[in-house]
């Protein structure tokens, strides 16, 4: 059983439960003036759009170099994967692993996880609801850490400007990579996790739903 079934809306910000004015779908929270909706509008569609955009950007983000190092010995452009390989050494492997996880595996895992959630919600799946909501939360929490790479890159570019000797420039891959991170975050944001429960509650009520 959900608030939706009872014709009630909960506020996303303050959690206050309110009843919408009959005949009007949307209103404002009486306590905090937040816009109230039963479910995020066009949630699945928007999430899908963001996901597709993220997936499209993911390819150039990994193929194109993210950083160009200009030293006396010439220009050198490195992609993220090249950076991982470069960092991989007997002493530097933890750093290498961090980059590998934060920059390559997490964004791709996010896209796959959200796609899985989208498909299951779309198909009205009622199985593994708890796992799915846990998956959603994990995606929401770790997603922003991918930005570390962009962060490091921009810092490096700003700091290493020893003009005649060495300088660092951002390369086009960085913009695509930042786009991937931002787009996946937007996708997570636009996905309404309550949808996971909707299909479940529309069918036979499961015991665990009551606690949710």
């Amino acid at each position: 059983m959900t608030a939706l079934q009872q014709g009630l809306q909960s506020c996303d910000t303050c959690g206050l439960l309110s009843r919408p004015v009959p005949g009007a779908d949307e209103g404002r929270c009486p306590r905090c003036d937040e816009e109230l909706v039963f479910r995020k509008p066009a949630s699945l569609q928007r999430t899908l759009a963001y996901l597709i955009a993220a997936a499209v950007c993911y390819v150039p983000a990994n193929v194109l170099p993210v950083m160009t190092t200009i030293t006396a010995s010439g220009r050198e452009s490195d992609t993220i994967l090249q950076g991982v390989v470069l960092l991989w050494s007997p002493t530097g492997w933890p750093l290498s692993l961090i980059v590998l996880f934060a920059s390559i595996m997490i964004p791709s895992a996010k896209i796959v996880a959200l796609l899985y959630l989208l498909i299951t919600v779309r198909r009205g799946s009622i199985e593994n609801n708890r796992q799915r909501i846990r998956l959603y939360r994990i995606v929401e929490i770790i997603g922003r850490w991918s930005m570390v790479d962009v962060f490091v890159d921009t810092f490096t570019v700003a700091l290493i400007q020893l003009q005649p000797l060495m300088s660092v420039e951002p390369a086009p891959g960085l913009f695509f990579f930042a786009a991937v991170v931002v787009l996946t975050m937007l996708a997570v944001e636009s996905f309404d996790p309550r949808l996971i429960w909707d299909s479940a509650s529309s069918k036979e009520i499961q015991p665990e739903v009551q606690y949710a």
């Binding site: 309110s18 009843r19 004015v21 009007a24 949307e26 404002r28 009486p30 955009a53 499209v56 006396a72």
Partner: protein
């Protein structure tokens, strides 16, 4: 659920907000934009890729996949993407990704080589690669045929293909100290360099390929002489010691110089790849070639020919007209006498240009014989003279001795024997003995002189005492002067008024 239903009335009602139209999700623009950006990047990436070429190297030294650049005149035109061993296991094949629009460079005679620090003679090149790492240099070909597979040069080309100038070939029996990159001088200006050298097929000559850059190449005409300007050319001959050098650079690294004789017709510049002879020195280069030299035999019976070497000059009144070509002893079985016939080769033009040029249909050889007959009849004789006292080298002088017993030339012999006079070595020996005696005398005198000088300066000698006195007097004078100066400083008016009693 009934319990919850009862609590419902407590729930406040939401405010009504005018309903907005549910927009058709504009969010779909984002994947479209992303796709467009992605496609654009992909297209530019593909467009920015030029042709792929393979270059075969002798070794992979200095080649690194993904790092080594291909540069043309310092401009980046490509990158080595892979380096692998050739199937024959002797070569290395590098694959290079060239930049777009480099297609036009990649023709049959385009040359590639690895640029690394090199020292060739005194030419140091590629120093910048110490910092930047090695790269592959390119020289564009002129061919129109496209080519994507190249064989790299072992050494960078000495001369860039488009440098204005001309190549010439020099023939030399020995290389001397010149090597690849050795400079070429024209009036001591660096005017080019040695490009390469190779042994002639027969192994008799070396063909040295040289490049003379513009504008100096216009001074090379068919009459130009090239000679080795390597190091210090010291020659000790009857004419004395000669030291000839080009520049410090050529002393260290060797080199070639060229010059065109000022005399002679003005010729058009030589064609490229003209073959010249490389002479050993400048003198050799400018020695006029002996045209139809006449060979004479000189037999010196009484005097020794020690000190007479092949190459020694034959002179008339101090002017060289030829040289000694051979000195070989000979034993006459009939008279039981040793003799050392000297073969000389003389250039008749040096002493007889005028008579050779007189018009007439008489054969030059016959005319020469006639002139020689007349000269010998008037007492033309050859004799040995000491050219250099220090080395004892001799030369052949030809002079007129009107009192000499008459002889006639036997033209049937070949070579013709020219009559000789006894040498003057005895006289010289005598004069040397005189000189030594004089020298001895001089030395004795010098000894005496030194003894006298010694006496003058020894302690308690007259000079010493006098000198002592002189110094004392000088000291006194200086003291007086100082007193005067002191007084004047205190009483400058004394100059006008004279010394007053008050001063004391």
């Amino acid at each position: 659920m009934p319990e919850k239903d009862q609590s419902l009335p407590k729930v406040p009602e939401s405010r009504v907000v005018p309903k907005k139209r549910t927009r058709l999700s504009l969010v779909w623009i984002i994947p479209i934009v992303a796709a467009v950006a992605g496609v654009w990047v992909a297209v530019t990436k593909i467009m920015s890729e030029g042709p792929k070429i393979t270059i075969t190297f002798q070794s992979a030294e200095g080649l690194e996949a993904g790092k080594t650049k291909v540069q043309y005149n310092g401009l980046h035109v490509g990158t080595v993407t892979a380096v692998r061993l050739a199937d024959d296991h002797h070569h290395v094949i590098a694959t290079a990704q060239m930049d777009p629009k480099t297609e036009a460079f990649l023709v049959k005679d385009t040359k590639f080589w690895v640029v690394r620090p090199r020292m060739n003679g005194l030419n140091i090149s590629g120093l910048s690669t110490l910092i930047s790492g090695n790269y592959i240099g390119v020289e564009l070909g002129q061919s129109k045929e496209s080519e994507h597979s190249f064989i790299a040069l072992d050494n960078p080309p000495m001369v860039a293909g488009d440098t204005p100038g001309r190549f010439f070939m020099l023939k030399t029996p020995e290389l001397g100290s010149i090597g690849e990159g050795a400079p070429i001088y024209f009036r001591r200006l660096p005017a080019g360099q040695v490009v390469s050298y190779e042994l002639d097929q027969g192994g008799q000559f070396l063909n040295v390929k040289v490049f003379v850059q513009a504008p100096y190449d216009q001074y090379v005409n068919p009459n130009t002489r090239f000679w080795q300007a390597s190091g210090v050319d010291m020659s000790l001959s009857a004419t004395g010691l000669r030291v000839q050098t080009e520049s410090l650079m050529s002393i260290l690294a060797g080199g070639i110089a060229f010059e065109t004789p000022a005399a002679g017709p003005l010729l058009p510049p030589a064609e490229p790849n003209t073959v010249f002879t490389l002479f050993n020195d400048r003198a050799g280069a400018f020695r006029p070639p002996a045209r139809d030299p006449y060979t004479f035999l000189l037999v010196f019976k009484q005097s020794s020919v020690r000190g007479l070497a092949p190459g020694a000059p034959v002179e008339i009144g101090g002017v060289a007209i030829g040289e000694v070509t051979d000195v070989s002893p000979q034993f006459d079985a009939k008279t039981l006498e040793f003799s050392a016939p000297v073969t000389v080769s003389v250039d008749p033009q040096r002493y007889g240009i005028k008579f050779l040029n007189v018009p007439g249909d008489e054969d030059a050889t016959l005319r020469h014989r006639r002139v020689m007959d007349i000269l010998v009849a008037h007492g033309l004789r050859a004799h040995l003279k000491t050219g250099n006292l220090l080395t004892g080298s001799l030369y052949v002088a030809v002079d007129l001795f009107p009192d000499a017993p008459p002889v006639s030339l036997d033209w049937s012999q070949n070579p013709v024997e020219l009559p000789t006079m006894p040498g003057k070595t005895e006289e010289i020996e005598k004069s040397v003995a005189d000189l030594l005696k004089n020298l001895n005398q001089t030395l004795t005198n010098t000894d005496k002189l030194l003894g006298n000088a010694n006496k003058l300066v020894e302690p308690n000698s007259v000079l010493d005492t006098e000198l002592d006195n002189l110094l004392k007097e000088g000291g006194g004078a200086a003291r007086s002067l100082r007193l005067l100066a002191d007084y004047l400083e205190r009483h400058p008016e004394a100059l006008i008024r004279g010394k007053t009693g008050e001063a004391k």
